[in-house]
């Protein structure tokens, strides 16, 4: 259990995908204007991350590696993710229309989200087994959610005071500066794993 706790805490707080690994920056900056869209997007990302890992890990370990085809990793993974996103969209539309109404608009954005492809590749780079990979994926998704939700709060304050900001600094620059400050606060978590478990 200790290993899982370490992986989970590292993924959510220490190696936060957005604020320390710079994965998934586009949705972080693009969809974080309102709390509900930030939350919806991160639920969709977490969901796809978990499913993508559940699909790519066995395919890599049991098909690509034994057949000596591991060089197809990138191409196979991105196709699996694209197909998965399509499939989820169709399935949600048909069976859970209420969820589709909430998450549907975010799904197509996820195919080209580097956080999803990133987590599937990093799971293998880190040498995680299947369960560890799933824990890491869900943790990374939750970390993404935490960053998105917190940042949407920060952003609403920033956007409310736009007229007090120098003209050249309005919009994207001030948003990035706010992200930098959020990122500083997450740096406080580095070393927490060592402190808690060693």
């Amino acid at each position: 259990m200790k290993e899982f706790a370490i992986i989970l805490i590292s993924a959510v707080l220490v190696n936060n995908y957005v604020l320390s690994k710079f994965l998934g920056i586009c949705p972080f900056l693009g969809v974080s204007k309102k709390l509900d869209s930030a939350f919806g997007m991160s639920v969709a990302v977490t969901f796809v991350m978990a499913l993508a890992t559940a699909a790519t890990w066995p395919i890599y370990m049991y098909i690509l590696v034994p057949k000596d085809l591991s060089y197809l990793q990138t191409i196979v993974f991105i196709l699996i993710i694209a197909a998965l996103v399509q499939f989820i969209e169709i399935a949600l539309k048909k069976y859970i229309p209420s969820l589709h109404a909430a998450l549907g608009i975010y799904l197509p954005l996820i195919t080209t989200n580097c956080a999803v492809l990133g987590v599937t590749i990093l799971n293998l780079d880190e040498g995680y087994n299947f369960v560890e990979s799933m824990v890491n994926s869900i943790g990374s998704g939750l970390g993404f959610m935490l960053a998105m939700v917190l940042f949407s709060g920060v952003r609403s304050r920033v956007d409310a005071s736009t007229d007090k900001i120098p003209k050249a600094y309005q919009g994207i620059p001030i948003t990035l500066t706010a992200a930098a400050i959020c990122s500083v606060s997450f740096m406080g978590f580095t070393g927490i794993v060592d402190g808690l478990f060693h």
Binding site: F22, A82, T111, G118, D125, I172
Partner: protein
């Protein structure tokens, strides 16, 4: 859409200045922030992405009549992923130092929106020569932006410049021998901060005319037409 009088010089310089993918169109933010702790990594990432971009632009332009509209995005992704993997192998084989410096961000060029964006916006509407030049221009623009970011972060954060550039034939670069450089520039917050400053500087110098995207979101994203959410008016709103 193909214009017989395409101004090739304009196509080439477009990506470097007027539509610089990083600093004007604000695309490909993930690698821009992640790998620019050293100037030389910025060059490495820029050149790797440029190689992929030129290759995918040429192939997609050649295949634009063959690829059916309904499956064009998956086709583009496959072509891009193939080029990324080839570049990855070449880097691993000939510049292993760069491979370990770029890490996971090298395969992640696949999802760099600059590349899919150019395929969708330019390569599938223009001829091969123009598409290749567009790839060169956008690639140079991307490389310059990453190099600037890397230069600022490395100088301020480590007191060095172009260190670790042995594979480029530059021995040791410059070392200012600072006792206590401003480490935060090398860390994640420094990435956001420097990127913000650079965009603000471009904004200021061009009096706000250059920046095409005032806000992040689908409307300004080149891949927007590939994204059904944009058509539904989803995304940011």
């Amino acid at each position: 859409m193909s214009n017989p009088k395409t101004n090739y010089l304009k196509v080439l310089t477009n990506g470097i200045l007027k539509e610089n993918p990083t600093l004007v169109l604000i695309l490909g933010t993930c690698p821009t922030l992640a790998v620019t702790t050293m100037a030389v990594n910025g060059i490495g990432m820029g050149v790797a992405a440029m190689a992929v971009l030129i290759g995918s632009n040429i192939v997609i332009s050649l295949l634009k009549k063959i690829i059916p509209d309904s499956v064009r995005i998956p086709c583009y992704i496959v072509v891009i992923a193939a080029f990324v993997t080839i570049v990855q192998f070449l880097v691993k084989a000939y510049v292993p130092v760069l491979d370990s410096a770029l890490g996971v961000y090298l395969p992640l060029i696949v999802v760099n929106c600059i590349i899919l964006g150019r395929a969708e916006m330019f390569a599938n509407k223009n001829n091969v020569v123009a598409s290749a030049l567009d790839g060169v221009g956008m690639g140079i623009g991307f490389t310059i932006a990453l190099f600037c970011m890397g230069t600022i972060r490395e100088l301020a954060g480590n007191g060095t410049w172009m260190s670790g550039a042995a594979w480029l034939g530059i021995a040791n670069g410059i070392n200012l021998h600072w006792d206590s450089p401003i480490i935060v520039f090398l860390l994640a917050p420094g990435g956001f901060l420097v990127f913000g400053f650079l965009i603000a500087a471009v904004n200021y110098l061009t009096k706000g005319k250059a920046i095409k995207k005032k806000e992040f979101g689908c409307a300004g994203c080149l891949a927007a037409s590939a994204c059904s959410a944009a058509q539904k008016g989803g995304c940011n709103e």
